[in-house]
Symmetry: C2
Subunit: 243 residues, 2 copies
């Protein structure tokens, strides 16, 4: 086992991006949509549907970030995108109850295979929290669904700003009463790590090669914003000396 | 085993007062202060000290509730009270490091003997969260210290209002995306349950006869604000059908 990286001796808490970094949103949504299609006898390309839903995420959130929309929980943003997609994909026979249930697929996403084991090891040494754009109820449901052993739930809703706004990253240190350098952001996305680094957090990059499916173009190479790279949460625990 | 109370079939989440209801603040502080006194060769009535510290809590918090003080985390309010008590009790030889450590005793309070077992049962059926005046880092540390299996941390700091301000109780339902009637407040104190009831939450009263020590005067009788009374968290789990 490699010895722990001493430059990270200051770190007391790890905060995690969730969608893509901790959970496999794409695979989970594909399975859920395929299941719905079978039950309702609908024809839909579930992978294309999942990708389109996720593609609506950044632009819709940016309307909140720029002030065009008032603060809106991610559940409600997901619903706005979903309403558009149901028309575009011709899925116009679903009832309101079925649409509500489909929108809540974001509350039941499967963790990557290494996630729970890695987090369980890391929790012995560090305070663990998600730092996600998901609303608090979504993150709470995900934790119960996937057995994610968070110590508390942090993120966008608590400060009514979406990542990568600096307020979100600063709030992690503020809520935990830590210095920024005592908090490490863990993410599969460099945009997240760059914004975390800019306010003084430590950063760990955990690439997720399969996040966007077999034809996806995930980020695989660290850049200057990254303090530590690990191939999964198990290696992250080793590198940080959490046995 | 008694069958679950059907009137509570709507309840999906339980939120808990913490100081006195989940953890034994008084016994924990007495032990900590006695230990400090031994190490530093100080003479202090640790029970009197614990009671005086807690007695400063409501008046200091009310200065925030009335707007006399801006929003201040409970850790900082505890420190203001502590600074006064150190003079009153003649404990003027402590270093700043020792005072900081003493103030953090509120982050390492022992759960009542039934708390962890009862919460573990309740968690199988309900979302569980503290709804406390303690700041988020305090509640997170308490959970790690005592093994409290919360799903998320709610409370005063997230809305910058102290209980019994109605904003705190409302925020529990808002953050969890539940109706007030789907949330049950659990507390050993009727002031908490009355305020929860006033905004539509369900209420459970769990008296804690020893909270204020052998000479204390705890509340033991429910009033009209109480929907359900249980002698401890084990009985609460039974009454709510959480096996």
């Amino acid at each position: 086992m490699p010895s722990p990286d001493l430059p990270f001796g200051s770190v007391k808490a790890l905060v995690f991006d969730v969608f893509g970094t901790v959970v496999d949103w794409r695979g989970s949504i594909i399975r859920d949509v395929e299941d719905l299609a079978r039950r309702k006898n609908l024809r839909v390309d579930a992978a294309q549907f999942a990708d389109a839903w996720r593609a609506g995420y950044a632009p819709t959130m940016n309307r909140v970030r720029t002030g065009e929309l008032p603060w809106t929980k991610l559940d409600a943003l997901h619903r706005r995108i979903l309403d558009r997609l149901l028309v575009e994909f011709g899925l116009t026979t679903l009832s309101e109850t079925e649409i509500v249930a489909l929108n809540l697929v974001w509350h039941r996403l499967q963790p990557w295979p290494d996630a729970v084991g890695g987090l369980t090891r890391l929790k012995k040494k560090f305070v663990l929290a998600p730092l996600s754009n998901g609303n608090l109820s979504l993150l709470t449901d995900l934790a119960r669904y996937g057995g994610l052993p968070w110590d508390c739930i942090l993120g966008a809703e608590l400060v009514r700003h979406y990542k990568p706004d600096p307020e979100v990253y600063r709030s992690a240190a503020d809520f935990l009463d830590l210095k920024p350098v005592e908090v490490m952001m863990v993410a599969a996305h460099l945009i997240d790590l760059r914004a975390a680094k800019a306010v003084g957090l430590k950063t760990a990059f955990v690439p997720r090669p399969l996040e966007f499916g077999p034809a996806g173009k995930p980020e695989l190479q660290a850049d200057a914003s990254v303090d530590l790279t690990a191939k999964d949460f198990g290696e992250l625990a080793e590198r940080l000396g959490a046995v």
